[in-house]
Subunit: 187 residues, 2 copies
DNA sequence: GCGTTTATTTGACTTTTGTCAAAAGTTCTA
DNA sequence: TAGAACTTTTGACAAAAGTCAAATAAACGC
């Protein structure tokens, strides 16, 4: 849990009480490859921090699986829409490699925010960071050829290429697996 | 300015000092149609709240203008990437209809956050809201036909259809203006 | 109200990407 | 280590969307 506290502590010095409160609320969860951590149609109650492993978020559209994000070591992961709004979500979260996660429930997290208002600063900064990540992704999806999207992915997220299935990467880029395979072959 | 304070106040009761601090820092700016409020290649120092009017954000890709967002009355608007990171940005912000804006500088906003740590709660909630907006957009762009994207836009953001140029809407949806025009004609 | 400028639509054609099906290559496990 | 299960590649063809150019249509200034 030290690593997580370190990351949070780099954003803002954590008081002893805040540290203790966090430690008391955070639980550890080990999950095997293939497990669906969070399912669509349900309310997502947990936010996870990936200590080790590899996750992805996906949903269905026109009957097909579409990957919306990949999460690696030191990333936070949840079904964002459902977690933030505490409404039922459309997103599934799948464990792609055996993983060790730290988790906190929505309720407990809000207790921490309530007891330590200054912790909202950390929450705001992290939200801003993830916001910028999605923004970058939107740009990437909006008006590029399949090849440009792929090349940008190689440049910005090489580890996705190394660890994810081709089909997952393709849907993440908004193209078909066959097209991605052909782009790759040509290089 | 009452409307803005009302919106913030709905997220969290604002203490008198916080209210006064905000009022002291926020400036009013009236801008005419066609003005470029924020230019690419510069650091964006202001966050705006749209009291009245209509803005859009856009950038260039492969030599073409691509609209990344539209902002209406009661929306917040800025060159998000540049404002959050305080680095030079790629985004331009254009005034599409004569507008009245409330603005605050990055520096002043952070002074407010610093003096009133609990105000980070408001910042966090608003960031979460805009984060969800972009997420929804990503889903829309990722794997839909041009027609589906258009229909979803009609359903979720009818006022964009009414007030924005077709070319801007098309690039916002990630399709060419001609394609959008044809989709429209068929209905 | 008229002409100019700007925005939208339409047509013909090209390019890109998707789809379906089958083959080849990998990985895992019993 | 052989076979099953899964993943990626390849081929042939179809569909969707882009491009360029020209014609309308709408908005704006004088």
């Amino acid at each position: 849990m030290e690593k997580l506290l370190l990351i949070l502590g780099q954003l803002m010095p954590l008081s002893t009480e805040l540290r203790e409160d966090l430690i008391a609320k955070i639980f550890i969860r080990k999950v095997k490859k293939g497990v669906i951590l969070i399912s669509e149609g349900k309310i997502c109650h947990q936010l996870f921090f990936i200590k080790k492993g590899f996750l992805r978020g996906f949903h269905y559209q026109n009957g097909k699986e579409i990957t919306s994000w990949f999460g690696f070591e030191n990333d936070f992961a949840t079904s964002t829409h459902s977690f933030f709004s505490q409404k039922t979500g459309y997103e599934n979260v799948e464990v792609i490699e055996d993983s060790i996660l730290y988790g906190i429930t929505y309720e407990d997290l809000n207790k921490v925010y309530y007891r330590h208002p200054e912790f909202n600063y950390v929450g705001r900064l992290l939200t801003e960071k993830y916001y910028l990540d999605v923004l970058e992704r939107t740009l990437c999806l909006q008006f590029q050829t399949a090849k440009q999207s792929y090349e940008q992915l190689i440049a910005t997220h090489p580890q996705i290429l190394k660890r994810a299935y081709l089909g997952h990467i393709a849907s993440y880029l908004g193209i078909s697996q066959e097209t991605l395979s052909r782009i790759r072959a040509k290089k």
